[in-house]
Amino acid sequence: MMEFSRKEFLKLAGIGGVVFASGLGHVARAAGPGAQQDFHFVQLSDSHWGFTGAKANPEAATTLPKAVARVNALTEQPDFILFTGDLTHTTDDPKERRRRMAEFRDIVKELKVKDIRFIPGEHDASLDKGEAYKEFFGETHYNFDHKGIHFVALDNVSDPGANLGDEQLAWLDADLKKLDKTQPIVVFTHRPLFDLMPSWDWATRDGAKAIDLLMPYQNVTVFYGHIHQENHQKTGHIEHHAATSLIFPLPAPGSQPKREPVLWNPEAPFKGLGFRTVEAEKKGGFEIYQEPVVKA
């Protein structure tokens, strides 16, 4: 199959400002900030390394390595990679937790792109308040700037009750106060900051406080994981984009009484699993491309 770069594909497809699905993946046009120059990054999420559940994913031990290979095969390598939590599947055993984190780290070392930014998910950090995670991956909330965009990583999982907490909110407030109201801002976090589906634990208990702090800024986009599927919503002008997982999909919010993994389909292995590339454009906005773990 002929490979197109993302820009070539956009040009060929004649799209922009639309949402559609194709063999190359799902594309969503997100309004948002303008970068100093065009670039793209990759978002990986929810690999749950160490998960064993054959009904949900009998290929749990190969899915993450396959995703790494797919990222390495991208025609244009990203500037950096964001990994939005649940790197590992939880365990009560601290030694086993560290073993899983070490294995995960060794697998993602194979990525060609070495600039990888991590945040924890509740499976990584909620049982020990992030202690093991920090040993392997560093701080759980931080910021950095890249080509004119201010990136903010928020931790809504080290507190097992899914709070950001007053200390982190104060840090966010102080960070934002340094910025112009037109500054392009990307927030990445694990859980949704808004109440997507609280009865399924798809929320951050004090997430509204973070959204209130972000609301005065005109160009804010949030990328998150946790819900194991694409989801695109707005709170006011702030866009929130959930990513697919690398272990098993979950049902659409409220589509069934209980939240349970979508079972593996042998007729369509790896269906619903994948990652995304995000193109930040100088003219403003993002192009979001959904990429499968295994090409059709």
């Binding site: 599947h89 939880t90 009750g161 009865s199």
Partner: protein, 123 residues
Amino acid sequence: MRKNLRQMRLGAAALVMAGAFGAAVHGAPAGTERVVEIAVKKFEYIPSEITLKKGEPVRLELTSLDRLHGFDLPDLGVRVDVKPDETVTVHVTPTKTGQFVFHCDIFCGDGHEDLQGVITVTD
């Protein structure tokens, strides 16, 4: 179960909950409330399916059998921490019918996502 739960009650916290679920019944005369005992442990509410009647005052008595859990019934505005060796009491009077999912909102390990249940309110 009832005996075990009572043995674990070293303390009790009484709460009054108001909201979409129902009006508070603080001060209701003794004996007018139906009592529903709910135990929680990794990774199960016992019972996990509860049927209530609309308009009937109910006292939910929650006890953890192992560690800190949550009892979150967000559609109906009820949430409490459930600590070991302590009973937390929630007074409610359902004012609408339907099925309402409750879950643990304090991450408690591999199986946390399975720790959920349903309250069905009937006429």
